[in-house]
Each structure stands twice: as structure tokens, then as C-alpha cells.
Amino acid sequence: MRRGGIVAPLISFKELGKAHKAFIMKRTTAETGEPTISSKAETRAPTRVKDKRRRRRDLEGNAVRYLFFLCALVSIVTTVGIVVSLLSQAVGFFQEVPFWEFFFGTRWTPILKPNSYGVLPLVGGTLLVAGLALAVAIPVGLAIAIFLAEYAPDKMRRVIKPALEVLAGIPTVVYGYFALTWVSPQLQNIFPNMLIFNALSAGVVMGIMVIPMVSSLSEDAMLAVPRSLREGAYALGATKLEVSLKVVVPAALSGIVAAFILALSRAIGETMLVTIAAGATPNLTWNPTESIQAMTAYIVQLALGEAPHGSIEYQTIFAVAILLFALTLTANMVGHWFVRRWQEKY
């Protein structure tokens, strides 16, 4: 995923093919120059038959090449499709609602009168939950990564890593169920005034959900740090913790930061969990015990309501989705850029 190009083969096959062709040409001309040897002439005939077959094989190969190329193009078409389909629907929305109101308005009541289309409460809700998730996932995930990369014996790693993969593979609806029916009631014991739908329980559970992502990406980055750096530090008398925190973590920092950013992007785009557990009240607040509505949850709410196609309510989904797409895309690009730009080459 983070690799730039394709591993170059030892010898380029194109060159190999060219050299082969040149060799054949040379040989045949040399042979035609010596027509006296009759036995060579006999061997030429089957070569010509072979050439015909070869041509058919090359033709087939070319057809397949284009077919594979089309498969690879599907990804480009998908991206274009996303941008075009979202934009074409959102254009109608922005003809009715000025950009200014959408991006800086602090009231989001597209269904209730008086209609107001300020998207900030939704963005705030999303960022509040994502922030809580990172507050859980960054320390826990990073600690697990350090432990797995530097401390854990092989046997232990072989048990823990699959368990974390299970955590990563659980569908998000299940996390939503967990947040609503277990985490939220537990947290209500601590905050008695809290509603059952709240940003806090959604954020905490989302944090648990992205722990595997943070830990596995950070661990990969730390494992890429060469042994010699560690050994150098040990030789200077550093303890194991000092080697981990002062040598390995700084050396792997680009990968670790990228892991955080990619986790943030995942948290922003997460849908079912926030729809089930965080509530459906657009609410610009910093208080995590309140009920909020995330951008993704709003999209789901409207998609469920079967708003009439072409109405402004229907178009709001696409306007919010464009913003969501832009946010996650930016986060992803920054994450990948971080890896490429700051990666230490050893």
C-alpha cells in the first residue's frame, strides 16, 4: 500500500525479448547465407509454422493485456464516478444554499422549518467522536505496538496479533450494538445525567475499534527500524525502554503519525457505529456526554427516510457526502504523503 512503484525485474523482459528477436534474426540471415547445408533448410520449415502460432499467441497476449488494463482503469472510473455523482447532485443544493451558509452556519435543520443549512454541527459531531476515538486509540494502540515490536516474545505475538485482527474484522454494526447496550449504560453510572445516545460511548467504542489499525501500522513502522540502531543505543548503555522510546519510536515516527492520520480518517468515515450510538440531534458542542449527530449518521437518516429524488432534502445528503469525501481524502493523502516524505531510508 505504501510502496511507490513496482519491483523492477532483474532484467527487463522487454529488453530480453528484443535481444532474443535480434538473436533469431541474426541466426536466420546467417543460415540463409549458407544455403548449401540442406539439413538446416529442413529445420527452417517448422520454424515458420511456429512463427504463425507465435503470432496468434502474441495476438492473444495483446488482447489480454488490454483487458487487464481495463480492469485497472475501473479504479479510476470509480473515483471519477464518486466525484461526478456527488457533485452533480450537490450542484442543485448549492444553487439554493450559499456556500457561506453551508460551511459556516451553526444550525442544521434541513427537514424542520425554519430550514437552516449550516453544516458545522454535523462536522463538530463527527470531529468530537473522532477526537474521543483517537484519545483512546493513540495511547493504547501505540503502547501495544511498542510492546509487540520490542518486548513480546514470538509465542506471545503469535497469539496477540490474530486476536487484534479479529477485533479489526468485527462489523461496525456489532460495535454499534456494543456501544448502545453495554458501554452506554456503564458510562451512565459515572455520568447519571447522560442520555443513552451520546458521543462519549460512541467515541470510546470507536477508539477500541481503531486500536488494531493504529497498533499494526505503528508496529510495521517500528519493525522497519534496523537492528543496528538499537544495538548502537544498547552499546551506549541505554535500557530497553530508552531504546524503544528514544531510538525506535523517533526513527519510526513518520509511519506512526501516518497510522494516527489514517485512523482519524477511518473514524471520520465510520457510519453504523455513530448512527446507532451517538444520536440524531445536530448539536455543536464540546461536551461528550451530549447527544450529537455525525455527518455519516445524517446521511443514513435521510437515506432511510426516502426523501423524494431531486428535492433539496435529498440533495443535502450529497452536499454532506462531498464534504465527508473531501475530509477523508485529505486525511488519507496527508497520511500517505507523511510516509513518503518523512520516511527515513536506512
Partner: protein, 294 residues
């Protein structure tokens, strides 16, 4: 410069070592928090859901009464959707992977495709749902059908299949290819007869993992179907449908506790399905790995 005197190379070593031990404790604590989340989640689901597991749950349609409600339509819907998604994803995903690993010239376009695929992997699933709603459901007039859902999900998991297939193809040793070229094979013959068979176990594992991701996805299908009260088993790809995660979502959202318990039972079935798919992936990988080593 401090002079190092014999015997006290570092007088604070004991302190530093105890800090180290303390941090190991913290790391273990973090690990426990992560794993405790998983364990509590599973226990909670099992406690709530097991009493509701019954034959009725698997064999009946949705109902207003929790005792009579079942998952027949969603289970069949999920299986249909998985089959359709696999049918679209596998050829396109493996084709794209073969192109990028074996054929692609090192140029601007290839670079754009690669960056694009890794960015697509990070697009929120609900956005794919809206893409499907706008393109497949409305523009191509497929309606809120299985076909539209399958196409949407296959776009969603395509980056996963491409990335895992590429890794599997890349893991095939260059010497295999060079051996085949030396015998006069064309590039397509090398790909078809040498590279793909050797990469097959890896590709298969990637496909199964992608399918298990697809089975758990609720958001894009929610945008495609909206929530429907389906009381029939879909019989062709143009039928309307519902899937397991959507039914779970529907039940979780209801105020009655019985329905929430039903949701837990549904989750057990969903997790069971995912678990068996993952077990299948591991089994197949081991089987084919052994064969290729023989």
C-alpha cells in the same frame, strides 16, 4: 565533560531499569484494555443472544412480534449479495493486480492508478453507497436490487482484492517467470500458467477476506435499499433484498429489549458466518501451501 569514575558508570541505572519495568506494566495494561474490549463485547453478545438462538430465528421472516421474528430473508440476501459481489470483484480485481504487477509500464498513468487505488481504500463506505444509489440504482435504473448492491459492494472491496492479489503475485519468485520465458513462453502464457497458479493461495485468501468485509458492511447497502420489510426470499438479482447487518441495525434501533436481544442473536449468526469464512481462508491457505511445497 563529566569524568567517568570506576564502578559508577551510571549511578541512576537502577532507577532507569525500574522505570523500564513500570512501562512494561503500562504496555501490558494497554494490551489488556484492547483485548478486554473484544472479550466483553463477545461475552455481552453471547449472554444476550444465546437464549434467542432457535430454528425459528433461521427459518422465519421478519415480524412485529420478537418471538416470531426470523432472519430467513436477511441470511439468504447476504449469501446472494456475497456471491454477486465475488462474481464481479474477482475477475476485475485479479485482472487489475496482474496488470499492475506484470504488464504496467513505469509511467505517469500507472503511478496515478496506484495512488488512486490506495486512496479508494480509504473512502468511507457510505460514500460508495451514495455512488451506487446515484449510478446503479437511478442512472442505470437497476432499482434497489441485489444487482445494484452487489456492484456497489464490489467497488468497495476492489482495492482490498487488488492489494492482496498484488502481494501474492509479487511473492512469486522471478526465477519461475524467467524459467518459463527461457522455454519460449509469451508473457500471457507465463502469467496464466506460472504466475497465477503460484499466486492462487494468496489471491484466494485475499478474496475471502474481502468477502468477509463485504458481508459485514451495512452502510452502503443501507443507502441502496433503504430499510425494507422483506418477507420473501430474493430469487433473482433484480429483486429487492435485505441483509444480516441491516436487520441487526433495525433491531438494535428498536426500543423493546426483546428486539435488542434478537439483534444479539443475529450478531452471533453474523460473527459465526465471518468466523467460518476466515477459518476457510486459513484452511485453504495451509492446504495449497503444502501442495506447492511438495
Amino acid at each position: 565533560m563529566q569524568r567517568i569514575t570506576g564502578g559508577s558508570f551510571d549511578p541512576r541505572l537502577a532507577f532507569r531499569k525500574s522505570v523500564g519495568t513500570g512501562f512494561v506494566g503500562l504496555f501490558l495494561l494497554a494490551l489488556c484494555i484492547g483485548l478486554a474490549g473484544l472479550i466483553i463485547l463477545i461475552i455481552q453478545v453471547l449472554i444476550e443472544g444465546i437464549p434467542w438462538l432457535s430454528w425459528t430465528l433461521l427459518s422465519s421472516y421478519q415480524s412485529r412480534f420478537p418471538e416470531q421474528a426470523g432472519l430467513l430473508a436477511p441470511v439468504i440476501g447476504s449469501l446472494w449479495l456475497m456471491a454477486l459481489t465475488a462474481a464481479f470483484t474477482v475477475p476485475v480485481g485479479v485482472g487489475a493486480a496482474v496488470y499492475l504487477e506484470e504488464y504496467a509500464p513505469k509511467n505517469r498513468l500507472t503511478q496515478i492508478i496506484e495512488i488512486n487505488i490506495s486512496n479508494l481504500a480509504g473512502v468511507p463506505s457510505i460514500v460508495y453507497g451514495l455512488l451506487g444509489l446515484a449510478v446503479f440504482v437511478q442512472w442505470m435504473a437497476m432499482g434497489r436490487s441485489l444487482l445494484a448492491g452487489g456492484l456497489t459492494l464490489s467497488l468497495l472491496v476492489l482495492p482490498i482484492v487488488i492489494l492482496t492479489s498484488r502481494e501474492a503475485i509479487r511473492a512469486v519468485p522471478q526465477s519461475y517467470r524467467q524459467g518459463a520465458y527461457a522455454l519460449g513462453s509469451t508473457q500471457w502464457e507465463v502469467t496464466k500458467k506460472i504466475v497465477l497458479p503460484a499466486a492462487f493461495p494468496g489471491i484466494l485468501t485475499g478474496v475471502i477476506l474481502a468477502m468477509s468485509r463485504a458481508v459485514g458492511e451495512a452502510a452502503p447497502i443501507l443507502a441502496i435499499t433503504a430499510l425494507v420489510y422483506v418477507t420473501f426470499v430474493p430469487s433473482n438479482p433484480l429483486d429487492r433484498f435485505t441483509i444480516l447487518p441491516l436487520q441487526i441495525f433495525d433491531w438494535v434501533g428498536r426500543p423493546q429489549e426483546d428486539f435488542q436481544a434478537l439483534a444479539a442473536a443475529g450478531i452471533i449468526i453474523l460473527l459465526g458466518l465471518l468466523l467460518s469464512m476466515n477459518a476457510l481462508a486459513i484452511f485453504l491457505r495451509n492446504k495449497y501451501q503444502k501442495r506447492s511445497e511438495e
